[in-house]
Amino acid sequence: MPPIVSIANLSKTYDTGYQALKQVNLDIHAGEILALLGPNGAGKTTLISIICGIVNASGGSVTVGGHDIVKDYRITRSLIGLVPQELTLGAFETVWHTLCFSRGLFGKKPDPRYLDQLLKDLSLSDKKHTLLMFLSGGMKRRVLIGKALAHQPTVLFLDEPTAGVDVELRKDMWALVRRLRESGVTIILTTHYIEEAEAIADRVGVIDHGELLVVDDKQALMHKLGKRQLTIELDSAQASLPAALTPWNLEMSTDGGRMTYTYDPLKANTGIDALLQAVRAAGLGIKDLQTKKTSLEEIFVNMVHQSK
């Protein structure tokens, strides 16, 4: 299947001379949840804004559904819904009115039944006739999502949907995003929270300083770049590491009760077998063993670190 969004050599230099995007290439598959992960100032909003028509690109091209975003802007824009990063919403109009406005703006004829259902899905039915200025931040965010979905787009961009949102609401948001994906909408969300990408994305793109460092399946990315850690809990605390164990570069916990070994799980010889034998040979008793994957966060920190 051809990509629903295809970005080729996209670059952006702002009037200030700052290069916010450098030759970005990215294909987005229909029906997936793609997380664009990057620190503040990485260029996430710039990338989204170009695709949606809010910022002009300096070079390169983008197609949505096979159509060029400049030449065929009417087609591409009606395929896209955008939830902006800031809570940019009017004040003196009602929730219902702003939804109808969005739907009309994107060229769709009025459909009160669809919009009513949308309000229900967003748990906003009881706020239908409330003025926007009386809504809480979380509700405003949901109204913005409603506005973005009012014209039934096939691609939805969510720019930092959970920035500054508390944990409970964040989980609600993730559930909502998953439901949307199930309804067939392709979702691209930006975030600087690793847990977010880890929790809901199918694929993750890491972006920093205007460069897309890597895009891959979330699992594959963690597999490829992720190290594992083996923690050995000892019977009795040790004052220091036995000399025989130095080749493994172990980390000793401060109380001397645990040793941690970091290894690459993809290597044929992970070194674990030899390590355990050496531990036993050194006369240490093993109380417990534990292995864990490094999180996306650690991967990310590593990668951004290397790119500098």
Partner: protein
């Protein structure tokens, strides 16, 4: 053509005026009534006629123009400045909508509002002075063209302005003086010859003159020239807006 988009923008703008109708529609009526009391009655009682027209009637077209120009600019500039200011403009920019459609929605609504205001003022004036409109179709033509072109001009100001101060500065420092010095309340024949020449560089003179001609068949300049000037102004504004959207001027980086 994205008809639905034009419709929702137009409706939204009209709704905004309706919600603030006291300010939108009542205040022009009140200020017009005051002008009649001050100029028409107090001063007019000492000026018998101007070019054969009673002074009270003579100032009606000028008063309407004053309101049309200021209201068109105020409505249209605010209509586009505000979403730019609050950031909600992102939605219009990301919508499948052309420049022409944006203009028809925003400028059309602003022009409609000032037309309504113009007609309300005309009606109000009817209570104070006898009114006779010699060429109603010409009157309407000037009314419509003025509302559209100055709403377009206001739209440009709204796009250009980066803050509220800039939004006010052109209407206050340029338009208001031009209207007052453009013969709203006098015929330019009443000025010393040198000033008559200077006045001809004021574009508003042509608007008021043409508009007044449609009422009383008295004019400072020929009506064709008036029409030509307003059409040139309209074309200039259209070109400018087109360029602004094309380049993304102050809208898109």
């Amino acid at each position: 053509m994205n008809i639905y988009a034009i419709r929702v923008i137009y409706q939204q703008e009209m709704l905004r005026a309706w919600k603030t109708s006291a300010q939108s529609f009542a205040s022009p009526v009140i200020s017009t009534a005051l002008y009649f009391v001050v100029f028409g009655s107090a001063i007019g009682s000492r000026i018998a006629t101007v070019e054969g027209v009673s002074y009270g009637s003579f100032i009606v077209p000028g008063l309407m123009m004053l309101a049309l120009l200021t209201q068109s600019i105020a409505n249209a500039s605010f209509g586009i400045f505000f979403p730019k200011f609050t950031g909600t403009i992102y939605e219009v920019l990301s919508a499948p909508i052309s420049v022409a459609e944006i203009l028809i929605g925003y400028v059309g609504a602003a022009a409609t509002k000032s037309m309504i205001i113009g007609l309300i003022i005309l009606g109000t004036a009817g209570f104070f002075v006898p009114l006779h409109i010699a060429h109603p179709l010409w009157m309407l033509l000037f009314l419509v063209l003025t509302c559209i072109s100055f709403s377009l001009f206001g739209f440009i100001i709204g796009l250009w302005a980066k803050d509220f101060e800039k939004l006010q500065i052109i209407p206050m420092l340029v338009i208001t003086p031009l209207v007052f010095l453009g013969g709203s309340f006098y015929s330019i024949n009443m000025l010393p010859p040198a000033w008559q020449v200077v006045t001809l560089f004021n574009p508003v003179v042509y608007l008021i003159s043409g508009f007044r001609w449609s009422f009383f068949e008295v004019a400072d300049v020929s009506v064709e020239l008036s029409l030509a000037i307003i059409l040139v102004f309209l074309a200039t504004c259209l070109t400018l807006v087109w360029w602004m959207f094309k380049t993304g001027y102050r809208l898109k980086q």
